[in-house]
Symmetry: C2
Subunit: 652 residues, 2 copies
C-alpha cells in the first residue's frame, strides 16, 4: 500500500522468481517475460470500450494513424528502398536517412497488433504485401539493410556508431513477434529468424566484438527468444548488454555516454546520453535480468529508473532536456522552453516501466506509465491522426510557422504538429503503442488480477482457480469515478488489486456499499463474487503543483494538474495581443474546474521596457487582474500557431 518502494536489494533473487509460467509462444502481447511478479494479459483478454478515452485513441490509430504512416512511407520512398534492394537499383534509388528501414518494420509491427485486435482483413493483406517486399530485400545469408553493403555503399557493419543496422533488425524482430503472436508463423517469422541467426553468427562470442550505436536489437532479441524458446537469442542480447559501457564504439562529438558506452549497464546509477537509446537499452536489461534470474542487473536498472525519475524527468513524464544530442541533461536540468521530451523517449519510458512493473509489481512504475501515456504519448498525435509532435516542449515562446500537411518536417520545434519528418521514428512508435494499449491496463497472478490503468472496457484473465471477467465503467480522466463490476469470478478466493495513483491523496473505495479510504499505492479486495461491484473514487480536482527547488528553470512557478493530466496555458485562450509569457498566477486561490478546462486567478503584466534586463530593482509593469483558462497539455497546439506554457510564474 506504500507508494514508495524499498530500495532494491541486489542479492534478493526471490523478487524475480517466476510467480507463474506463461507459455509465451502465442499470447498476443508485446512483452512475455519468463518470470516476474505479474503476468501480462494478451490483447484478446482486454477490450477497450471504443468510446472511452484510450479506446478512442486506439480506434483513431486503426482508422487513420497506421494508414497515414504507410502512405507517407510509400510517398517518401522508404518502402521503395526495400523494393529497390530486390530490384538491384540501390544505392542510386535510395531515399531518406540511414535508418528508414526501421520505420517500415515499426509500421508492420503496428499493423500486426492492430490486425490482431481488430481482425481487419485489409490490414492482413497489407502486412503480407510488406512482408513479401521485406523478404525479397533480404540477402541469402540473412543480412538485410538498404543502406550498406552494395557497391557504392559503405561495407556492412562499417559504421556501428551511426549505421543503425542492428537497430533496424531489432524493429524487424519486434514486428515478427507481433505478427507471430497475433497470426501465427508466416514468412515474416522466417525472415526474422534468418536475421536473428545472422546476428548471432556475426556478433556472437567469436564475432565482431561490439554493439550498435542505437540500442534496440537487445530488447528485440530477448523477446524473440521468448517467442521461439531459443536461448541463443537471449544469450546474444545479454552479450550485447554486457559489451556496452566499455568504450567499444568510436569517439564521437557527444561523448560515449551518448550511446551509453561510458559505463557498463550494471554499474550505472542513472540514465544518461541519448534518451531513446538509454531507455531501449534499460528495457532490454530488464528482459535479460528477468529471464536469466540476474537480480543484480535488475536492481541496477531499478536504481537508474529511480534516479532518473527523481532528477531527470519532466512533470509530463517526458525525458530528454537537450536538443543538441537528444539527451538527458544533468540532474535537475529541466528547462521548460528547451524540453526535448521526444515522443519516442515517452514510448521507451513506457517500455521500461512496463517491464519493471511486471518484474516487481511496484505501483510507482504504473504511476509513471500513466503520466507518460497521458502527457507525452497522447500529446504527440493530433486529434486528426494526421500530425505529430516529435519533441514535446513544455513552453512554446513563439508561434512559429503553420505546419504544411504535405511537407516533411525537419523536426525543429514548432507549435503545431507535423505530418511527417525526415527522421520519422515517432509516428510509427505511437502507432505500435496505441495498437497494444489494452495490454497495459491489467496483469494477473495465480490468484488475482491487478488493475494499473483505468479505462472503460472489459478484462478477462485466467487464474489458477478459474476465469475472471471484469467490466470497467469510467469517464476517467475526465471523471475520477471508476466502477468495476465482476462479470465472472472463480469460486475460490482471489484478489482484485487496484492502483491508487501517487497524486490521489483522499481516494475512496466502495466495496459492497462500504466506503473506505484508499491511500496511494495499491488497494486489495478479496473474495468478490460474480455481480459484485467495486467503486474507486480518485480525487481529480485541479491542483497546483510546485517544482523541487533544485530545478532552476521553473523556480517561482506552479503547474496545474487534475488527475493524471498536466494542464497548460495557450495564447489561443488569451485575449488577442496577450502573451503567455506576460502573465502571473495567484497560487493562493485554488484552481477551479470547468468542463474540459481549469480556471486560475492571476494577472496580465504589462512589462515596462528597459534597455538592460538586469538591475536592482528591475523595472516592472502594471498588473491587470483576470482569470485564465487552461486546457489539457496533451491537447495543445490544435489551433493556429500560438504560444504555450505549463509552468506559470507566481505573482509576488
Amino acid at each position: 500500500m506504500s507508494p514508495t518502494a524499498a530500495r532494491p536489494d541486489p542479492d534478493d533473487t526471490t523478487r524475480i522468481r517466476p510467480m507463474t509460467y506463461v507459455a509465451t509462444q502465442t499470447a498476443p502481447s508485446p512483452v512475455q517475460p519468463r518470470a516476474g511478479r505479474l503476468s501480462p494479459l494478451g490483447l484478446d483478454e482486454v477490450e477497450l470500450a471504443p468510446d472511452g478515452y484510450w479506446g478512442r485513441w486506439q480506434q483513431l490509430n486503426g482508422d487513420v494513424i497506421i494508414e497515414h504512416c504507410r502512405s507517407w512511407m510509400e510517398r517518401v520512398g522508404w518502402i521503395g528502398n526495400l523494393e529497390a534492394a530486390a530490384e538491384g537499383t540501390l544505392p542510386a534509388a535510395r531515399r531518406g536517412r540511414e535508418f528508414t528501414d526501421s520505420d517500415v518494420y515499426k509500421l508492420v509491427e503496428a499493423m500486426s497488433w492492430e490486425h490482431g485486435r481488430s481482425g481487419d482483413p485489409a490490414l492482413d493483406d497489407r502486412i503480407r504485401e510488406l512482408t513479401a517486399i521485406i523478404g525479397r530485400a533480404q540477402e541469402p545469408d540473412g543480412y538485410l539493410n538498404t543502406n550498406f553493403g552494395r557497391p557504392g555503399q559503405a561495407p556492412r557493419y562499417s559504421d556501428l556508431e551511426w549505421g543503425h543496422e542492428l537497430y533496424d533488425y531489432g524493429h524487424l524482430l519486434q514486428a515478427a513477434v507481433a505478427r507471430h503472436r497475433t497470426a501465427g508463423r508466416d514468412e515474416l517469422f522466417d525472415i526474422a529468424t534468418r536475421v536473428a541467426d545472422h546476428v548471432c553468427e556475426v556478433f556472437g562470442p567469436d564475432g565482431i566484438d561490439s554493439v550498435c550505436g542505437h540500442a534496440e536489437i537487445e530488447v528485440a532479441l530477448a523477446e524473440f527468444a521468448r517467442l521461439t524458446g531459443e536461448p541463443r537469442y537471449l544469450d546474444q542480447a545479454r552479450l550485447f548488454i554486457e559489451r556496452r559501457g566499455h568504450g567499444r564504439l568510436g569517439e564521437i562529438e557527444y561523448g560515449p555516454e551518448y550511446f551509453q558506452d561510458d559505463v557498463p549497464v550494471r554499474e550505472a546509477t542513472v540514465l544518461r546520453g541519448h534518451a531513446v537509446r538509454a531507455l531501449y537499452l534499460a528495457a532490454a536489461a530488464v528482459d535479460v535480468a528477468v529471464d536469466t534470474g540476474d537480480a543484480g542487473l535488475l536492481a541496477a536498472v531499478e536504481t537508474q529508473w529511480e534516479n532518473t525519475v527523481a532528477r531527470r524527468t519532466y512533470i509530463t513524464g517526458g525525458m530528454g532536456s537537450h536538443h543538441q544530442d537528444e539527451s538527458f541533461g544533468e540532474d535537475f536540468e529541466l528547462p521548460a522552453d528547451r524540453a526535448y521530451c521526444e515522443t519516442c523517449a515517452g514510448v521507451g519510458s513506457l517500455m521500461l516501466s512496463w517491464r519493471l512493473l511486471l518484474a516487481t509489481g511496484e505501483p510507482r512504475y504504473a504511476d509513471l506509465m500513466e503520466r507518460t501515456l497521458h502527457n507525452v504519448i497522447a500529446t504527440s498525435p493530433g486529434r486528426d491522426g494526421h500530425s505529430f509532435f516529435y519533441a514535446n516542449t513544455l513552453h512554446q515562446r513563439v508561434p512559429g510557422h503553420p505546419s504544411d500537411p504535405d511537407e516533411q518536417s525537419r523536426r525543429a520545434s514548432a507549435s503545431q504538429r507535423s505530418a511527417w519528418f525526415e527522421v520519422s521514428c515517432c509516428p510509427t512508435n505511437v502507432a505500435r503503442t496505441f495498437a497494444t494499449l489494452g495490454c497495459y491496463l491489467a496483469t494477473s497472478t495465480d490468484d488475482g488480477v491487478q488493475l494499473h490503468l483505468y479505462a472503460a472496457g472489459r478484462i478477462r484473465a485466467q487464474l489458477a482457480a478459474g476465469p475472471v471477467e471484469l467490466d470497467v465503467a469510467t469517464a476517467y480522466p475526465a471523471d475520477g469515478r471508476i466502477r468495476v463490476v465482476v462479470g465472472e469470478a472463480p469460486a475460490s478466493d482471489w484478489t482484485l488489486t487496484l492502483r491508487v495513483p501517487q497524486w490521489a491523496e483522499g481516494a475512496r473505495l466502495t466495496v459492497r456499499g462500504e466506503v473506505a479510504d484508499a491511500a496511494p499505492g495499491t488497494v486489495e479486495v478479496r473474495g468478490l463474487g460474480t455481480g459484485d461491484a467495486v467503486v474507486l473514487e480518485l480525487p481529480i480536482a485541479p491542483r497546483f503543483t510546485r517544482p523541487d527547488s533544485r530545478i532552476d528553470a521553473v523556480r517561482g512557478t506552479v503547474a496545474v494538474e487534475a488527475g493524471p493530466l498536466v494542464y497548460c496555458l495557450e495564447s489561443a485562450d488569451l485575449p488577442p495581443g496577450t502573451r503567455v509569457d506576460g502573465i502571473v498566477v495567484d497560487d493562493a486561490v485554488p484552481p477551479r474546474p470547468e468542463p474540459d478546462a481549469v480556471v486560475v486567478r492571476g494577472a496580465v503584466v504589462s512589462a515596462s521596457e528597459g534597455g538592460w534586463p538586469y538591475g536592482d530593482p528591475v523595472a516592472t509593469g502594471s498588473r491587470e487582474p483576470r482569470e485564465f483558462r487552461l486546457g489539457p497539455y496533451s491537447e495543445w497546439g490544435e489551433r493556429a500557431p500560438g504560444t504555450m506554457r505549463v509552468w506559470l510564474p507566481v505573482a509576488g
Copy 2:
C-alpha cells in the same frame, strides 16, 4: 549624460555625417570609418601600462597566446594545409575542418597587430614566413582555399551554405589590413588584393547572385576599401549585405535565420540565428551604413542591437543561448546552465558595439563593450595563456573531466579550459582582440578626447587645436578610482569626456579639487591645462542584481556584481561535498567586499530526496547558515574540475 539614448531616427542623416575625416591608410587600428561622431585612435596613440589589468592580458597575448595558437596550428596541420596546396598534395594531405584556413589568417592578423604594438622582430619573421606560405597556396586567378576546387574536392563555391570560402577570405583581408596599417605594404597586401578583386569579379553584380553562409567577407571588404580607397570593395560589401535575407542560400535544418537569410538586414528588428554570424554581419552593416551615408541601415542595426541587448543577452554580455545551432534564443530565453555564449560571439559583439560607438558616440555601446570584455573575452583564456573556453556557461552543474593540455577538444561544455579545439575559432579571435585592446580605450573628435574604458596607460591624440596627452592611473576594476593627468593640452579650448557606466549610480568627479556628482552616461570637462588632474570615482562596492521577471531560467535568483565584474560561486570555494546547487543566499544582507572576492550570507540546503520532484509541497531539507566566497566570473575554472553558478537562488 543620459544612459538611455533616444530611438534612432532613420531619416536623420546628420548623425553619421563626418565629424572628422581621417586618412585611414596608415592609422594602426582595426576600424577606420570614413564618417561618424568619434574617430578611433591608433595602437601607437594608446599605451597600456604593462602591470594594469588589460596591459597584463596584452602582455600575456604577446608572450604566450599568439605562439600557443601558432604552434597548435602547426601541430594539427592547418598551416600544413596551405603548404600542401602549393605542393599539390591536396586533398589527401588535408587535415581539420573546412574552415581551418581562416584560423591561420586570424593568427597573422593577431601577429600583425602585436608586432605593430611591440615591434618584436621575431614576430615580423613569423608573419613573413606565413605570408609566403599563403602566397604559394594562392591560385593565379586569386582563388585561395585548401578545401575546394581540386580534383577529389568539391568545386569552388559549390557549397556556399557551409563551405566558408568567402568567410576565409574575410579573415585574410583583415590580416592584410592589420599588416598594412602596422608595417606598410607587403606581399600579404598583394595576396589580399588579388582575393578581393577575385571576389568582386565572381560575386559582383553580374556574378554569382548569393552570399556566404557565414558573414565575415562583408566587414573585411568594407575595411579593405578603407585601406585601399577602392570603392569597388565597399560596393561589393554593400551588395552582399543587400543580397542576404532573401532566401538565396539553400534550405538547412536550422532554418534560414541560422545565417540571417530570413529577413533583409535593414528590415530586421533583432539579432537572430547563429550568434557569431549575426554579429559579424551587423558590424559590416554599420561599416557600410557609415561609409555610404545610409542612415536607414544604421538605424536598423541600432534597433537590432537595442532589442538584442534588452532581451537576448546574458548578464556577462554573452550572446547565444543554444548549443544545437550556436544561436540566439528567443526573447528572454537565457538559461544559465545551457548558456552557450561563444567566445567568438563576445568578439563579434565587441566589433559591433565599437562600430556603433564610433558612429553615434552613445555610451551605452561602451557599457556593453566593457561588460563583454571583462566577462566574456577575459573569461575565455586561462591565466596561463595556454587554455581557452569556447562556450562560456553561467552555470556548470557537473565537474566534467580534467582538460588534457595535449588534446584537441571537441568543444563540449566543460568546467576547465581546453588547449585547442577541432573548431578553434576562439583562441585566435581572443589573440587578435587582445593585440588591439588599446584601440578601444579612447576616441577623439576635432575638439576633444573621449575615455570609454578605464585602464592604466597613456593616451595621445591629435586634435584640431593641437596634441593632447593623458596619463591614466587606476587599479580598475579592482578599485573604482581613476586618475587622469593631462600631460599635454592644446592652448585653445578642448573637452575631455569620461564615460560613467550605467551601473555607477553615485559616481563622483573631482576636477581641480572640486567634487561633483557624475550621473551614468558621460561627463564632460572643459579647458583642462597641462598638469591638471581629474579623478573619477566609480562606486564598485559589490551589489546584488536581479533579473527581469521574464527570464524564466533565473527567476528567484540574484547575481553579484562589483563594478564591471560579474561574480560567481565555485565548488572549489565550498567545503568538500557541498554542491553549488545546494545553497541559497540571503539577499537582505548586502554582499561584503574582501580582497579579490565578495562574501554573501546564505545557507547550505540539505535536500531531502523524494521519488518525484513535483508536488505540493515539495519536500525541502534543512538549512545550515553560512557565508559564501564568490570570485570574479572571468577567473572561474582555474582549479580542479568543479562546478559553478552565477545566479544564486534567494532563500525564501
